[in-house]
């Protein structure tokens, strides 16, 4: 028996590794290990007041800190039945789009692109293909500029609070963002072209179950229902029943817990979102999708990269729309909606860049947290990732360690795992 070990997975956020045991041609165990230290933020947040929770739990992860903040705020607002203004909704979605643009650009250009072109890093790639890297950096910066203007900071937003925002962005700031986004449209198009020019990565096929929020409005950063789709059809899970979806269990090799739906692993993220909402591909994304030769149902997890590129283009477009809308509606500096704490439970599910993110809190009458439950996309993906890693090895004709290792890493990266996220979960008793 031999093992293929990827000791410390590079170009991902957080600490994880992959171990595969091979017995001749049969694949033994395949493990995605997470050895990110356990920060235990959920139990530590117990006793904190409702207005402190988002700032603490956004620290679960930097790349999806906006998603964590906003999901946290929504969970709290759901518990206290706070109704935020339409302007707040728009600003929040804009903030989400900013994060998504930044995150997808970071993943596609700095983390994944080097794989396709056989470079160890984006900076090494920059020596030969500066234009490609600069394109990615520009898009990434565009996303950050939105997060800075709306969230007050590119990482761990400070401006979003229960009920709304500390201060609305000034009209001049929005105009500046708009100008940036107008340039971003061309860049996003160039990103699609670049993706279309990459060598195909096709070494793992399977029927995958996808789970994502069902978008009934333009905004799909938040919703009430999760749809789980497979070739066998669609199941709808209401937000409050999120446990039937996650059904988590701890596994000894990992600090991440694994989720299964009706006993089967499922995938969340860009690819899942498009699979659940194929309608998104019919509008302005139809042409880019054709350029990328992107078709549903996707049987190849590597297609998640293509899906991200499509979303990137869609996000830039949608962000522009939102800004126009805010400007037309004459954005005002409005105070956050009033919050009246009470003893209650609130759950919120949103689409973080990497997929479904769930925060669920129970508060006491004074607005202090009694228990917090956070379920992150990387944790939801863990079982699916392991399954795809196994299939990758199984479907690999060459029994060459280097080839296997490279493919395994590409699959793992295509999931865009955010390992520090995955380690911070709490099981509610």
């Amino acid at each position: 028996m031999k093992t293929v070990v990827i000791e410390h997975l590079a170009r991902v956020e957080g600490h994880g590794g992959i171990t595969v045991e091979l017995e001749g041609d049969t694949v033994g165990s395949v493990r995605f290990d997470v050895f990110e230290g356990a920060r235990l933020l959920e139990p530590l947040v117990r006793g904190k007041r409702y207005d402190e929770v988002a700032a603490i739990l956004s620290r679960i992860c930097s790349i999806c800190s906006v998603a964590h903040s906003l999901t946290s705020l929504k969970a709290t607002e759901n518990a206290f039945e706070v109704r935020v203004s339409p302007q707040t909704e728009l600003l929040r979605e804009l903030l989400y789009r900013g994060e998504s643009i930044e995150s997808h650009a970071l993943h596609l250009f700095l983390l994944a692109l080097p794989d396709y072109l056989d470079y160890p890093s984006a900076t090494a790639l920059a020596a030969d293909r500066p234009a490609a890297v600069l394109l990615g950096l520009r898009l990434k910066k565009l996303g950050n500029s939105i997060q800075e203007a709306i969230g007050g900071r590119a990482i761990h937003p400070v401006n979003a609070v229960p009920g709304g925002f500390g201060r609305a962005p000034a009209v001049e700031q929005l105009i500046e963002l708009r100008n940036g986004l107008i340039e971003g449209v061309a860049d996003a198009k160039a990103a699609i072209d670049l993706m279309a020019s990459l060598p195909a990565a096709d070494f793992c096929h399977s029927d995958t179950i996808y789970a994502a929020l069902r978008a009934n409005v333009d905004s799909y950063y938040a919703g009430d229902e999760v749809a789980v789709v497979s070739d066998g059809g669609q199941t709808i899970v209401p937000a409050a029943d999120y446990r039937t979806l996650t059904n988590e269990r701890s596994v000894p090799h990992s600090h991440a817990r694994h989720s299964r739906f009706q006993g089967k692993p499922f995938m969340v993220g860009s690819l899942a979102r498009l699979s659940v909402n194929p309608g998104r591909l019919s509008g302005s994304l139809a042409a880019p999708a054709a350029r990328l030769d992107f078709r549903l149902p996707a049987g190849n997890p590597m297609d998640n990269n293509k899906a991200q590129a499509l979303e990137l283009a869609g996000d830039v477009e949608r962000a522009l729309e939102i800004i126009e809308q805010l400007l037309r509606a004459r954005i005002r500096d409005e105070p956050p909606a009033p919050v009246h704490p009470r003893a209650a439970t609130g759950t919120a599910i949103t689409e973080a860049p990497r997929g479904l993110l769930i925060h669920s809190y129970t508060y006491d009458g004074e607005g202090r947290i009694l228990s917090a439950d956070v379920i992150t996309p990387t944790a939801l993906n863990a079982a699916s990732l392991e399954a795809h890693l196994r299939q990758t090895v199984e479907q690999c004709a060459e029994r060459d360690d280097a080839v296997i290792a490279k493919r395994l890493q590409m699959i793992a990266r295509a999931y865009d795992p955010c390992i520090s996220c995955s380690a911070h979960l709490v099981r509610r008793r």
Binding site: S65, L110, A124, S250
Partner: protein
């Protein structure tokens, strides 16, 4: 002069400070042209995990035996070790409630499997190894990071403001949230350098940068208490990001 060899590492944290480095979009390629990045797992798959380093930038806190071992190994390789971000400098949010029984919490979170995990009470880097330079912030401020790199390349130790967030807040001419709205603002004891991001948006400072060297936490606590805020709540708030640091300074 040969380029300084640099390693960028993350222990347990949110990777936000490494992300700040990647967020220096306009300067990223300039930086990598000036330094020789040998070890940066988050951005490269070709790393030299053993070479001696002129500068090691380490983010995150020490939350496991594995972290502690890695940190010691980094220390042995590096001439200058820089703690990057509040977690590295102060322990960060995960250092709250150090007294709590970790095993119990682990079991609660991960079930029985949790008891086998490698987990230890969260510590700041300086509690484990000698740290040469601290760049605080949750996350660090991009401008400060760039200035620090520029100064280090020029051979100087970077300088940081030795005053609290209030000073910056006043320079920006904000209304004071603590005085005028009686809010629990940590500005008076929190190290400046963020340009009062939160109060500038009418949001009380949560102290994410850790205490200023000269913090008078006990006086702030007393003042807030006079304003009718609950003592326990104030103490917990002040100690969210740098629990031990604030305790030492009150």
């Amino acid at each position: 002069m040969s380029k300084p060899r640099v390693g960028i590492f993350g222990l347990t944290g949110c990777a936000g400070d490494q992300l700040v480095i990647l967020n220096c979009e306009d300067r990223l390629l300039d930086i990598v042209a000036l330094i020789d990045v040998r070890d940066f797992l988050m951005a490269s798959s070709e790393n030299d995990a053993a070479c001696p380093l002129d500068v090691a930038l380490v983010e995150g806190a020490v939350a496991s035996r594995r972290d502690a071992e890695r940190l010691r190994a980094i220390r042995n390789r590096a001439k200058t070790l820089v703690a990057l971000g509040t977690c590295a400098v102060w322990g960060g949010v995960a250092a709250m409630d150090r007294g709590a029984d970790r095993r119990k919490l682990l079991e609660e979170v991960y079930g029985e499997a949790g008891l086998r995990y490698d987990a230890a009470p969260t510590q700041a880097l300086h509690e484990v190894v000698k740290v040469d330079l601290n760049i605080t912030g949750c996350p660090i401020e991009k401008d400060q990071f760039l200035a620090a790199i520029a100064h280090l390349l020029a051979g100087n130790t970077p300088i940081y403001p030795a005053y609290p967030v209030c000073t910056e807040c006043r320079m920006l001419e904000n209304n004071c949230l603590l005085i005028e709205r009686g809010e629990l603002c940590c500005g008076p004891i929190t190290a400046a350098g963020c340009n009062a991001r939160c109060p500038n948006l009418r949001i009380p400072c949560v102290g994410c940068r850790g205490p200023v060297a000269d913090a008078n936490a006990s006086s702030l606590l007393a003042t807030l208490e006079e304003k009718g805020l609950d003592r326990q709540r104030i103490a917990a708030r002040l100690a969210t990001f740098a629990p031990e640091g604030v305790a030492q300074r009150s």
